[in-house]
């Protein structure tokens, strides 16, 4: 089970991170469109289609990665008060009721939708450039499959937690929100200094990484 979790985390993170770089392409691409419009007075006809496609691909492909890092928002004001074991038991049941049906529906419906689009190599109607969009619709299926793979890993996580009473640790480090990093670092400072830390003031402390 642990090996499967490891495998699924890797797959999700790989796809999520690979497609994450689209944001950089998008930044420069849209910037380029603004440049050619104002400086060269020659706007492109494809930039609009390409920008929403990059946005759509980016967030769809990252759904599983976000799930693997527990990044999907939850109303956790009751949840966080429970013991890990209770959390895992509730979650295990909910995965089967509220996760898999939706994701399987996404894959099934997405397949029908995308294959129809492939059958006549559909192009976008938003602009005259005839930008193809059938590959973009395929993203729905891929995102669904990635979520399915990751969802099974999340179920395994719950099972491990029910057995051992603690959520399994991540095997690999990953980036975290700055506030989480700062909060953890601060905890370390407090632990190191004990009660004297009341007087420890670091106005100039900066995070070096």
């Amino acid at each position: 089970m642990e090996r499967y979790i490891h495998f699924a985390d890797k797959v999700s993170a790989w796809f999520g991170k690979a497609f994450a770089w689209l944001i950089l392409v998008m930044t420069f691409g849209v910037g380029y469109e603004v440049f050619v419009r104002y400086v060269l007075r020659d706007p492109t006809s494809w930039a609009f289609d390409v920008s929403y496609m990059m946005y759509g691909t980016l967030f769809m492909m990252a759904g599983a990665y976000t799930l693997s890092r527990d990044g999907h928002v939850r109303g956790d004001f009751v949840y966080r008060l429970w013991k890990p074991k209770v959390q895992a038991m509730v979650e295990l049941v909910l995965y089967f009721i509220f996760f898999f049906p939706g994701v399987i529906a996404l894959i099934v419906a997405g397949t029908k939708y995308a294959s129809r689009s492939w059958s006549y190599t559909e192009v976008s109607v938003m602009s005259p450039a005839n930008v193809p969009i059938f590959q973009f619709k395929t993203v729905i299926i891929l995102a669904g499959v990635l979520l399915l793979i990751q969802g099974v890993a999340q179920v395994f996580r719950c099972i491990i937690c029910i057995r051992t009473g603690a959520w399994p640790q991540y095997t690999e480090e990953d980036v975290e929100e700055m506030e989480d990093v700062l909060l953890r670092e601060h905890e370390k400072v407090v632990l190191r200094h004990g009660s004297e830390s009341i007087d420890v003031v670091h106005p100039q402390e900066r995070r070096d990484d």
Binding site: W21, G31, S51, L58, T66, H72, Y113, V201
Partner: protein, 451 residues
């Protein structure tokens, strides 16, 4: 059971599942598909298990989120935010503003508030603003013998301004749910945003004048002796570049020079340039920003995938109709309705975060607005003001928890809450002002775009 009753049951079950803490995006997706399967069930079409129109609806809604031109700006603004967050800009900004305002009463609080407001506007990431300022300005204020509650209120309230003052991601999300033009929303939010920041500022200076013990004047030996030229130079290198970045992004949007997503990508490019100038643009930080951007975008946009499916099934079953009949049956005046709506949103802000409230709960009120003659633009900005409180009110006062997490151990959570209270009343005051003078929000969109 009739269909509308089932719709109400759907909403009830959904709220129950939220309480259990399951990721909301997937709950919405599965419930939309499940109840939709019932709603669109047609025995004549059932060749196989999957011959149900709900699947077409689901995938169409998913695709419309993927191809939504308003939401395209979300990852770009997030990316700009993460880049600016990592540009080593906060300590420079705070130090400079402190020096520039050193003659004012409560100068350090004024500087902290300004830094919070600017940094929050540029990044839009509340947690980062509050923790960074909590580690930088908060100890500095305590060291200058500022009152703990007073100092914590400044940091918490200042850090939350980022979701109100444009370019804010919350307004983009509201635009995508309500179909109000994002450009108009931005124009409308500018004056209320600055008004709230101004009210905070008046409060800080006023309290410091009335009760100098809260914010003692620095001793003469603590004031750095700096010439005017040096102050100007420092402002020019730390304050103006960021201010210029924010203003050019905003200006490009307001004057119609660029769409919000174009302006956001220009902002991200500017952020990269700024970070490079401050020698903070490392490969590591770029990677962090890229990965965090993708995760936060996925969080917000998957919520849309779920909620659009959920809400179309909900209104197909007649739930929307039932709610509006019920509310209209109460014979409320527009003011009473507005108060009720804002009160509900305020209460939802205790346990929930803004993304869930805007994407899931605000759409319940939106169809009712025309009945009461309330402008959705006006309503959206009231909501944006209101949601400032969702970070500041217990039990889920994220801003207070972040500050507590990085503050010295002797700072009590109660002291932080106590310091936040006056700022909550400022938010209330701002909402009252906006209700009495709707022009505060509506004047600027009218000037720019007419009605």
């Amino acid at each position: 059971m009739t269909d509308p009753q089932i719709a109400v049951m759907m909403l009830g079950i959904f709220i129950l599942v939220i309480l259990l803490g399951f990721p909301i995006a997937f709950t919405l997706m599965a419930m939309g598909v499940g109840f939709g399967y019932y709603a669109y069930y047609d025995p004549e079409r059932m060749q196989t298990l999957f011959d149900n129109r709900i699947f077409d609806l689901f995938v169409n809604q998913t695709y419309s989120v993927m191809a939504n031109d308003v939401l395209t700006a979300v990852p770009l603004f997030l990316f700009m935010g993460y880049i600016v967050e990592r540009a080593n800009i906060v300590d420079r900004l705070f130090h400079t503003l402190y020096i520039a305002s050193r003659r004012l009463p409560g100068s350090m609080a004024v500087a902290a508030l300004l830094t919070c407001a600017m940094f929050a506007t540029a990044t839009g990431i509340i947690g980062a603003v509050v923790t960074l300022m909590g580690m930088l300005a908060f100890p500095a204020m305590l060291k200058a013998r500022y009152d703990t509650s007073f100092a914590s209120g400044v940091i918490c309230a200042g850090g939350c301004l980022g979701i109100l003052i444009p370019p804010s991601i919350m307004l983009i999300v509201y635009a995508a749910t309500s179909n109000v033009s994002i450009v108009k929303l931005y124009a409308g939010a500018i004056i209320p945003g600055f008004m709230l920041a101004g009210l905070y500022m008046v409060y800080v200076v006023g309290r410091a004048v009335l009760n100098p013990k809260l914010a003692p004047k620095p001793r003469p030996e603590e004031i750095e002796d700096i010439s005017l030229g040096q102050v100007v130079f420092q402002l020019a290198t730390s304050f103006f570049p960021l201010a210029f970045l924010i203003l050019s992004v905003l200006g490009a949007i307001l004057f119609g020079l660029a769409t919000p997503s174009e302006a956001a990508s220009i902002g991200a490019l500017g952020g990269l340039l700024l970070a490079a100038c401050y020698r903070a643009l490392t490969w590591q930080r770029l990677r962090e920003s890229v990965y965090l951007t993708v995760r936060t975008s996925a969080m917000v946009c998957w919520l849309f995938v779920g909620s659009w499916t959920f809400s179309s099934v909900f209104s197909y079953l007649g739930g929307e109709h039932l709610i509006s009949e019920f509310v209209l049956g109460l014979n409320m005046s527009p003011l009473a309705f507005l108060l009720m709506a804002q009160l509900i949103i305020f209460l939802l802000g205790w346990p929930l975060e803004w993304s869930e409230i805007i994407i899931i709960f605000v759409p319940i009120f939106l169809p009712l607005l025309p009945h009461f003659g309330i402008d959705p633009l006006f309503f959206g900005i009231l909501v944006a003001l209101n949601l400032q409180t969702s970070f500041l009110t217990p039990p889920m006062a994220m801003a207070a928890y972040y500050l507590k997490g990085v503050a010295p151990p002797h700072v009590q959570l109660m002291e932080i809450f106590k310091g936040v209270m006056p700022f909550l009343s400022m938010i209330l005051l701002a909402m009252v002002i906006m209700y009495v003078f709707p022009g505060v929000a509506l004047w600027l969109p009218e000037v720019f775009y007419g009605r």
